[in-house]
Point group: C2
């Protein structure tokens, strides 16, 4: 049975969800976190809907067995495809990446033109587009979506400010200027790491980081349920986070450091079923 | 008597506090806001401690008379000098700019070297420095502070990406690279508008926006007191905010638009006493 002192559980297909964890740590410094990365089966984006649902259920079960008080589906693909199923099987509240970002984009846009960038799978799923239109009701909003497949490997190589990354970004993002968007959803866990670069290329566009908005949603949800941990006395820079992965890639610590900016504990390898 | 539906009140010496309002609107879209800018007596930064306290008391009284449920001292100078007095006279919770930023900086820094930029008055007051050392307890943290007086007029002229602003910023911020800081507090309401530019000059430094952290603090405070407004149905891009000023400068709407990115209602002129 989870309580105020229980951990917040996040799962992702791999390491990218650490950008979501970073936002949770920033806004909820008093919490304990359990991060599960399904690194043995990453990425989810090119797998069938049924498989992503199956894997997401296994991740959810693992986190529920750790008595977490909240589950964060930190993967945009899993959020697009499996959120309903996770919510149904979970005894604790569940937060995905799509709705918080869609809402923030609707609230931010002044000219009702929103851009979405994500992996091919996320863009093709139309999850953001559908959620924006559904939430916006009668308000007419134009949505322009574009997949940016090279951003993930470039981020994982740590080339956040590299000239090649800038060239690729200019190519990917150029069309948004023509569309005249004023708001852009960074719809993949890797993209917030390119925020500075994307901001240079689209200087007058508001950038929406789904992890940030999901963390805000979490504060509200936990507070309403009396489950917020006290954070008044926290002064350390090493958040209380445990890492579980289904495979330990050689590059885990390097990539984790790029994403989090603080050293991580050794991850534990687990089997999901 | 304030309740869940009451407004959140913010006051500032002038228009700069609108950058704080922007963060509150972003994270608390369901709330009503009352913004008071003491534009007839701006800036507070070069006035005596006693005068700033007196003006802050008048601003607080004005907001309390509007039955606000929370008071945000959006001015860094007033937060440095008058927060205790405001808290003492207020029947509702009060949030200032210094503590949320100091805490966030302590949590963010990995090498325990924090930079502060602010107006001359704020830097000289040592409010951030003292609060960081006080909160950090036994943890040793080096703090480097620098006033950046030209940032305020450059921002108010809308020159956010201008080459002159970049030159000035490079001159102001150069020394922080030598100090090796990894975290920088944007300790004046105008500076978050230069976030992109500052990020280009100090690419590996975490930038702390006090308004953002104050908004996070507000969510928690309001939730704990059962005073959060429901925001589930909000889809508009025109936040519910009323503006009061002690003088209406010709440039009000231009500057407000730079700060907020959404059109503001006509401000009402009020006399404080």
């Amino acid at each position: 049975m989870s309580n105020q002192h229980s951990a917040i559980g996040l799962f992702d297909s791999g390491i990218g969800g650490l950008s979501v964890l970073k936002q949770f740590v920033r806004f909820l410094p008093g919490e304990n976190f359990i991060y599960l990365g399904d690194t043995a089966r990453v990425p989810y984006g090119n797998k069938s809907r049924q498989t992503v649902i199956e894997y997401s259920k296994q991740c959810t079960n693992f986190l529920l067995n750790q008595d977490v008080k909240l589950i964060v589906v930190a993967c945009n693909t899993a959020s697009s495809v499996a959120l309903d199923v996770v919510q149904e099987m979970s005894s604790v509240p569940v937060i995905g990446m799509i709705t918080p970002a869609a809402r923030a984009a609707i609230l931010a846009t002044q000219n009702s033109k929103i851009g979405i960038i994500g992996t091919r799978a996320t863009v093709t799923s139309r999850a953001h587009q559908d959620e924006i239109h559904s939430l916006a009701g009668d308000r007419e909003i134009e949505v322009f979506a574009k997949s940016c497949p090279l951003f993930v490997p470039l981020v994982e190589e740590g080339m956040l400010h590299h000239n090649v990354t800038r060239q690729i970004a200019e190519e990917y993002l150029g069309e948004f200027e023509a569309h005249g968007i004023d708001t852009l959803v960074l719809g993949c866990t890797h993209y917030p790491l390119l925020r500075q670069l994307i901001g240079e290329i689209l200087p007058n566009v508001e950038l929406i980081d789904p992890g940030e908005l999901a963390a805000i949603k979490a504060i509200r949800l936990l507070a309403e349920n009396g489950l917020l941990a006290d954070d008044a006395k926290i002064i350390g820079n090493q958040p209380n986070a445990d890492f579980y992965v289904t495979d330990i890639p050689d590059t885990f610590f390097d990539i984790a450091n790029i994403f989090l900016g603080f050293p991580v504990r050794k991850p534990q390898k687990v089997d999901l079923e």
